[in-house]
């Protein structure tokens, strides 16, 4: 039984990471109606920046904080320079552009920092809690705590601030937003900036466990997509819940289903995506289909 609880707990930890990246995906989808295939690679690239700062002697948390700022600015720049010009184009064009971004960030990281695995510092103390046979690390607890903080912060931002309201409005009805004086372009940039920062945080939190290398986020991306699909692409709460569910399911499947074992755990998100899209395409909490208007 303790073993089972252990697996669930570990699953929640991974799930928190997936949830963070899924939140980034949802943020971008809500503000610009784009599915950003490059989200994971952008996050990975930012994580490398954090690693670089740390290697240069910056303390871990300061490095992460600085990286979040850089990621925020970078996300805004990407929206303005790469996405804005193709905004009204066909879905296929936009898919190709985000795939192009994926390649740029993925290969770019490989070019700058090469493909050899690096060790990313653990920002949390190396402590292990043991409660009745169930062990969990400070890292795990820390990740879940950070996720909670993020969710609270985003909720406060969107529900209780003027700019959050403006972002919601711009996402829902750009035309009317312009009529009340909201600069819609700026809101979209903000959305991308926030999402990039979120992704960067997710990357920095997962890197100690996964080991840092350019392809690190490939699988996390798929899990995040599964989470967003399950929760509904326009539902932040859904993304969080979806992430946790996917994380736990993945871990349990990997532990208890012999065929899957550890190396085929990646089948889980694929099955989740297929199942959700066939049964209930809007996901658990989503309102709109992932179709360009």
């Amino acid at each position: 039984m303790a073993h089972f609880v252990q697996q669930v707990l570990d699953g929640l930890a991974s799930g928190a990471i997936y949830a963070s990246l899924a939140l980034a995906l949802v943020l971008i989808f809500r503000s610009t109606h784009i599915v950003n295939f490059a989200q994971g690679e952008m996050a990975m690239f930012a994580t490398f920046i954090a690693w670089q700062l740390f290697t240069w002697g910056v303390p871990v948390w300061a490095a992460i904080a600085a990286t979040l700022v850089v990621a925020f600015l970078g996300g805004m720049a990407v929206e303005r320079m790469v996405i804005r010009p193709v905004e009204g184009s066909s879905e296929l064009t936009i898919v190709i552009v985000t795939l192009g971004l994926l390649l740029v960030f993925n290969q770019g990281a490989g070019w700058i920092w090469d493909f050899i695995i690096k060790q990313f510092p653990n920002p949390f103390p190396a402590h292990v809690f043991d409660v009745g046979g169930v062990r969990t690390t400070a890292h795990t607890a820390g990740v879940v705590a950070v996720l909670l903080l993020i969710v609270l912060g985003l909720w406060a931002l969107f529900q209780h601030t003027k700019i959050g309201l403006a972002m919601r409005a711009a996402a829902e009805n750009p035309e009317s937003s312009r009529l009340v004086g909201i600069r819609v372009g700026r809101m979209m940039m903000l959305g991308w900036g926030l999402a990039a920062a979120l992704g960067a945080l997710a990357g920095c939190l997962v890197a100690p466990r996964l080991f840092l290398e350019p392809n690190m986020m490939f699988s996390v991306t798929i899990y995040a997509f599964a989470a967003a699909t399950l929760g509904g692409f326009d539902s932040p709460g859904g993304a969080v819940l979806g992430g946790l569910i996917v994380g736990v399911t993945e871990n349990l499947a990997g532990t208890y289903i012999p065929f899957i074992h550890q190396d085929l755990k990646i089948l889980v998100p694929l099955l989740v995506i297929v199942a959700v899209l066939l049964v209930r395409p809007n996901g658990l909490f989503g309102h709109r289909e992932v179709v360009r208007v």
Partner: protein, 362 residues
């Protein structure tokens, strides 16, 4: 549109047919000349271009006619490659003969994926196929008894028969050129046949979908299956031309490569598949000349720039350029058609239906 004097060609007339034939002959002449004038490594690259073009041709069927986006054709490519590998190494088959089987295996897999794909459109399908592409390398590693796992397997490359007097790279090129020609014919037949007509009717008039009902479902699934089959053939070619298969050869990057090649070349056109494949093979090559590790970055940047400047692809640009000089008309029309058929062999031209614009309806 200015009243500039342009050469007028009416489809179906002798003048038109001659023009098309001349262009086709020129293209063919260039294609045949390549292995004689280029150094072996370049010839190998052109063989790669043809191989990729076959896969892109299949993807074109899917996107241009079904309106579906697939990010997972690397999976079918891999299936074809490993089928050929196993047949050649473990069962001693002749390499060319393995291709129909590679097609069949990929076709069957494509059919299975195509069934649920019916219910998914646009980005949903892209997501599912994306997962397929990401899952492929781990699956390959899991079934290492057959695939050789992470270590991969070496496939003996066929040598040129003595009577031809050709070097190995030249022989490979001609073999693949012949296969490409066959696949092009198959594609044209598909498009001008029942499937193509039905799908075009649906694409151009949604109401037709309602009336066609079940038949349509089968057509669309078959199209998916065919597109997978094409990728499988390309994969089989990969096995004996490159001579080595491993999980690293069949990653998401390859799937992105197919899709991007199709879009850069231009949708709904055979020549588009070739242009796109040229882009896919040679841009990283030239990028590597600049800086080896940067080639992936440059390819990604090139993709974005192409989408900014020419979203209709190379074919779109060529059509506009040609439109400055030549006015292609339907018989009986008094003005320019909406979008004249493209230089070379155009899928829709084969079917006698006006080509649509290059954006996919999704």
């Amino acid at each position: 549109m200015s009243e500039r004097r342009r050469v007028v060609l009416v489809e179906g007339t002798a003048k038109y047919r001659i023009a098309v034939a001349v262009v086709a002959l020129v293209v063919l002449a260039i294609a045949i000349a390549i292995p004689y004038v280029m150094p072996p490594f370049r010839v190998f690259q052109f063989t790669e271009v043809l191989m990729i073009a076959i896969a892109v041709l299949g993807l074109n069927l899917l996107t241009g006619y079904n309106g579906q986006i697939s990010l997972g054709h690397s999976a079918f490519f891999a299936l074809g490659a490993y089928t050929t590998t196993v047949l050649i190494i473990d069962h001693g088959w002749n390499y060319v003969l393995t291709l129909p089987l590679a097609f069949a295996v990929a076709f069957a897999a494509g059919f299975l994926v195509g069934i649920p794909a019916l219910r998914l459109h646009g980005l949903y399908l892209a997501l599912v196929t994306l997962s397929l592409a990401i899952v492929t390398p781990p699956l390959i590693k899991r079934f290492e008894g057959v695939t050789g796992g992470a270590m991969g397997r070496s496939v003996p490359k066929p040598g040129a028969p003595g009577w031809t007097g050709l070097a190995q790279d030249q022989w490979h090129y001609f073999v693949v050129l012949a296969i490409t020609a066959v696949m092009v014919l198959i594609a044209r037949n598909l498009v001008s046949g029942r499937i193509g007509r039905a799908l075009r009717a649906v694409r151009d008039d949604g109401l037709a979908a309602e009336t066609m009902g079940v038949d349509l479902a089968i057509f669309k699934t078959l199209t998916f299956a065919y597109s997978a089959g094409f990728a499988g053939v390309a994969g089989g070619i990969f096995a004996f031309v490159v001579g080595f298969v491993s999980p690293e050869s069949f990653t998401l990057v390859l799937a992105i490569g197919f899709l991007s090649a199709m879009v850069v070349g231009g949708l709904s056109s055979i020549s588009g598949a070739v242009f796109g494949s040229l882009f896919y093979v040679f841009v990283p090559v030239y990028a590597a000349d600049v800086n080896d590790a940067l080639s992936g970055v440059i390819y990604g940047v090139a993709l974005i720039v192409v989408m900014f400047l020419m979203p209709a692809g190379v074919v779109g640009v060529l059509r506009r350029v040609r439109g400055l000089v030549v006015d292609v008309r339907k018989p009986g029309a008094h003005g320019p058609t909406v979008a004249p058929p493209v230089v070379g062999r155009d899928l829709s031209e084969a079917a006698g239906v006006p080509a649509t614009s290059s954006s996919a309806e999704l």
